[in-house]
Symmetry: C2
Subunit: 160 residues, 2 copies
DNA sequence: CGCGATTGAGTTGTGCACAATCGAATCGTG
DNA sequence: CACGATTCGATTGTGCACAACTCAATCGCG
């Protein structure tokens, strides 16, 4: 059987090139499709993700959004400012904990959900894949992300 | 059977959330792992991709790199300048066509290939997946990217 | 209660992705 | 040969990702 140990470095480098590159290419392709689909909503794809979690939860602290999307304040702070400037969300300091900032959709932001309703179906159609394939792919990617996030940094730099 | 047409919008939105988000999360997880693995080489992940194609082809015009990695000059120009500043590549105008810029690894850049040899194996090990699973995943992602790149932009904005 | 440690946002700086645009070189057709 | 169209790269501007840091608010232990 073909395993990690029976493949020469040279082939490996090629294979590796393709898996990481494939992921990159697929992500960028998705971004391109979303960019088109979200153009009429005036949202970028990461902004759309933020609105998705806000539509689902009603309101969340910045930290809560960051946990669900795995983004830190360095990414979210400016993004949320742009969403606020666009009139889709409002931010205010939590009365209970002055360190925390609560974000919630404005009326306009909530109304946007209706306009966004058709987006996911069109995206799924664009993939040309049956639902079960999409689901299977998603599960593999999730499992992969979990494994990669759990990797010990030192185990990487210190070669085997 | 469950198809695109038998699932309500509401569920769909959730499913969609997960597939696009999973891809995003997996890409970012990969980036994190590569960041660690490439730290000792002084390369970012996109810079590593560029070095990979240069190691394979010896020298290429900027356009050739862009075709292989699907990146445009707006991304490559500054990236190549940084690689040049790091001493890994040199750029010069092609004598045959003064519009074109030829990029090739310096001696130091070529030497880097040996130091990079162990990287892909460690990345593959970090995924915790057998080779055939990686290959299968790669093929699915490639097929997906092809489909998504071929999507007619008008078909997205004009709803079904 | 008081003070050091921790937590939550925000800021700064670097790098990538991409759209739009520019200028120079080259091509192609009349 | 001349001139409009195209090609190539660089540049500009916007937005995202992330590391490193700051600062205020809060927590918790003595």
């Amino acid at each position: 059987m073909e395993t990690l140990d029976t493949v020469p470095d040279e082939d490996f480098l090629r294979l590796d090139h393709q898996i990481c590159f494939s992921l990159h290419a697929a992500t960028r392709a998705f971004n391109g499709v979303y960019r088109e689909a979200l153009k009429e909503l005036g949202l970028t794809y990461p902004q759309y993700l933020v609105m998705l979690v806000l539509w689902e939860h009603g309101e969340l602290p910045v930290k809560g959004i960051g946990e669900r999307l795995r983004l830190d304040s360095g990414t979210l702070s400016p993004l949320l400012k742009r969403l606020e400037a666009a009139g889709y969300v409002e931010r205010r300091r939590s009365p209970e904990d002055e360190r925390s900032v609560t974000v919630r959709p404005t009326g306009e932001g909530t109304a946007l959900k209706e306009k966004a309703r058709g987006v996911p179906r069109r995206i799924a159609a664009a993939t040309g894949l049956p639902l079960e394939d999409i689901r299977d792919l998603r599960e593999r990617l999730d499992a992969l992300a979990v494994r990669l996030d759990a990797v010990d940094p030192d185990a990487l730099s210190s070669c085997v």
